[in-house]
């Protein structure tokens, strides 16, 4: 029996590569995430194989593929490319079909994207040159604090007396962290301070109008950061089930929309 067709979206980010497979009813039936590494093409291929396996599909079932992210031009099996801004917007609108402000915290950049109630983009901002406020900042701080990235969420949630980091700059922030270590401050308080610093950098990018959605790998692995952001802005934040896959899902939706 002939298998039903599906659509693939590939998001080759600076840190992680994500693949999402959607069925014709826009259900997420397969997905995979791997470290992007240095061979984007090979990583995208490997992710696709994993995602297809999960979906119970074959390569020939894929009607169309769109790639996005920094390595979007390196995906050999994609028919078209779209920017990650467009894909995150589309992916989010599938789950939250109303006017939103989307905050995406990625490995190398942050985005604030505004959608109107029909899902059209009314504007977007990316972080400036600096890495402060991105996943790269978190990685740098984890290294300074000699903890793994996976431990950070748990540590931050234990904080009783958060320290504040004031600098824009990743290097200056690292100096501030070292100063707090020297002063014998508690590790959970420093980690929460790192989260606080990241959120501040993101919040200064644009005004948060409409309902707020958070996505991205950093959000997927650091749920406490979402809770902190809610407290800081005094509003509930919406998070899709797979926040790290939003770009890949958006790419798959483009593949479905623009199928050959």
């Amino acid at each position: 029996m002939k298998s039903k067709p599906c659509y693939a979206g590939v998001d080759v980010g600076a840190s992680r590569t994500k693949v999402a497979i959607l069925d014709t009813s826009k259900n997420l039936i397969g997905h995979a995430v791997k470290k992007s590494g240095t061979d984007f093409t090979a990583t995208a291929d490997a992710c696709l194989i994993l995602a297809l396996k999960m979906a119970g599909k074959k390569k020939s079932d894929i009607k169309n593929t769109v790639s996005t992210g920094y390595g979007r031009k390196n995906v050999s099996f994609a028919r078209d490319t779209k920017t990650e801004i467009g894909c995150h917007a589309k992916g989010c609108f599938l789950y939250f079909p109303f006017a939103t402000t989307i905050i995406d915290i990625g490995g190398q950049d942050n985005k604030v994207i505004k959608l109107d109630r029909s899902g059209k983009r009314t504007g977007f901002k990316m972080n400036r040159k600096c890495a402060a406020g991105t996943g790269a900042f978190l990685e740098e701080m984890a290294m300074r604090l000699d903890v793994s990235l996976e431990e950070m969420n748990g540590l931050a949630s234990q904080s009783k007396n958060m320290i504040k980091l004031g600098s824009f700059c990743t290097v200056f922030s690292a100096t501030e962290v070292l100063e707090n270590i020297r002063q014998g401050k508690n590790l959970p308080d420093i980690v929460k301070g790192v989260y606080y610093s990241m959120i501040k950098r993101v919040l200064e990018m644009d005004a948060l109008t409409e309902k707020v959605v958070m996505t991205g790998g950093v959000v997927a692995h650091n749920a406490f950061m979402v809770k902190m952001t809610e407290e800081m802005i005094g509003r509930k934040i919406l998070v899709p089930d797979y926040p790290q896959l939003t770009g890949a899902i958006g790419a798959a939706l483009y593949a479905m929309q623009n199928k050959p």
């Binding site: 169309n64 593929t65 995906v75 050999s76 490319t81 920017t83 801004i85 467009g86 059209k120 040159k129």
Partner: protein
């Protein structure tokens, strides 16, 4: 490779204008003439800021050299980024004008793009006098002061008004007076007496050049546009360095005729123009080609700019040279209040029928950066036209992330495309 293949996108390219060679020939003659004078010591050479009192200098028989144009050439030839640190090490911060730091760096290193481009030229021309107008910024004053010491040449200046709303007679009178006060010291350097009739003739030629340049730029209001901002940044050479000369006027007559032919034939500067973009701020000189390709590849014509318009001096009037020069150099966008700037850009967006605006936030050029005090947001609200800010610089390529620029621009054009449907 299996499954689908990535489509081979056909990248539309910017078409070359035949008149560009006229502008190039003009620039070659201009620099060779300066070089010969520098070697012989005659005629005398005055250095002048880009919107300085070139007309007065020409009327006194000086050949006029513009360091800002030289600095732009350092950027466009991608020499600047290597040279800037030389000036940084002397105490000129990486945060100040990268024209200044690149130009001083080049002098310290003993290099110039002139020798790469024009056979036989080995160095920049030596100044007999340096004359600035702070209408561009305060940096030009420091820049000229440095060279004044190096060459032991007098440095004279006009100090502009800034944040000017409505231009009053008092504004005009104070600048005209400063211009008149330049005459005596300049006569001493030139060894010639000031001749008012000669100044009138120069001002008349400057005005003619300005009108033609305006007409050239306004051809971009046609759909499709026969001209892009990227063409403009190089074609503007004669309007900057040659205003007040007959030869510059001749170049723009030829160019205008070619652009009008393109309009008649409905021939766009890029193939298949689908989006019309206004550029505010400085060009990124080291990325002119890359940016031109990026936009034309997305079928977006960046067709008008605040920057190229800055050499239109409609107030110039040969019958009242000093006052009209003072007015022209005070009407300038760069010295106006934010309200005036906003009104001006809004007018341009209408004139050129654009779909979106790009603001260049140039790290080292606050005076030519208009997106730091909420203007994009205000203009978006008033016009409904979306905008994008790119973070870069005019000459310091250390300030640039090409990947981020590309993603931002692609996402912006996607947004325009989706909102058109």
């Amino acid at each position: 490779m299996w499954g689908h293949v990535m489509s081979d996108e056909k990248k539309p390219v910017r078409k070359k204008l035949k008149a560009a060679s006229e502008a190039s020939r003009f620039m070659a003659n201009y620099y060779h003439e300066l070089d010969a004078a520098s070697q012989k010591g005659q005629p005398k050479i005055a250095w002048c800021t880009s919107v300085g009192p070139a007309e007065i200098l020409r009327a006194l028989g000086f050949l006029v050299y513009f360091p800002e144009t030289h600095a732009a050439m350092l950027g466009a030839t991608r020499m600047s980024t290597e040279l800037i640190p030389e000036a940084n090490a002397l105490g000129y911060s990486p945060d100040i004008c990268s024209y200044l730091t690149a130009d001083i760096g080049a002098f310290l290193r003993g290099v110039t793009p002139l020798s790469r481009i024009y056979k036989g030229i080995e160095a920049i021309p030596k100044p007999d006098v340096l004359v600035f107008n702070t209408n561009q910024c305060r940096d030009v004053q420091d820049w000229f002061a440095w060279y004044g010491k190096k060459f032991d040449a007098p440095v004279l200046g006009i100090y502009t008004h800034r944040n000017v709303g409505k231009i009053t007679e008092a504004h005009v009178a104070s600048i005209a007076k400063q211009m008149q006060e330049l005459i005596e010291p300049l006569e001493k350097v030139s060894g010639r007496s000031f001749d008012l009739d000669r100044l009138k003739r120069v001002v008349a030629l400057s005005r003619a050049c300005s009108e033609l340049w305006r007409n050239v730029l306004e051809t971009a209001s046609a759909k499709p546009s026969p001209l892009t901002f990227f063409d403009g940044t190089t074609l503007m050479g004669p309007a900057v360095v040659g205003r007040g000369t007959r030869e510059a006027v001749d170049v723009y007559k030829i160019l205008l005729a070619e652009l009008n032919d393109r309009i008649k034939d409905k021939e766009g500067a890029i193939e298949d123009e689908r989006f019309r973009i206004y550029w505010d701020g400085m060009p990124v000189w080291g990325r002119l080609r890359a940016h031109s390709d990026l936009f034309s590849g997305l079928k977006a014509s960046v067709l008008a700019s605040t920057y190229c318009n800055s050499w239109i001096f409609s107030a110039l009037d040969e019958n009242d040279p000093f006052n009209s020069m003072a007015r022209a150099y005070t009407e300038l966008f760069i010295v106006r209040s934010d309200d005036e700037k906003e009104t001006y850009i809004k007018k341009m967006l209408e004139l050129f029928k654009v779909d979106g605006v790009i603001y260049h936030d140039a790290k080292t050029c606050p005076n030519n950066t208009n997106c730091r005090y909420g203007m994009p947001q205000r203009l978006e609200q008033q016009t409904g036209l979306p905008s994008l800010t790119i973070n870069a610089d005019l000459n310091d390529m250390r300030m640039i992330s090409d990947e981020q620029t590309q993603t931002n621009v692609e996402a912006f054009i996607e947004q325009l495309e989706e909102n058109q449907t």
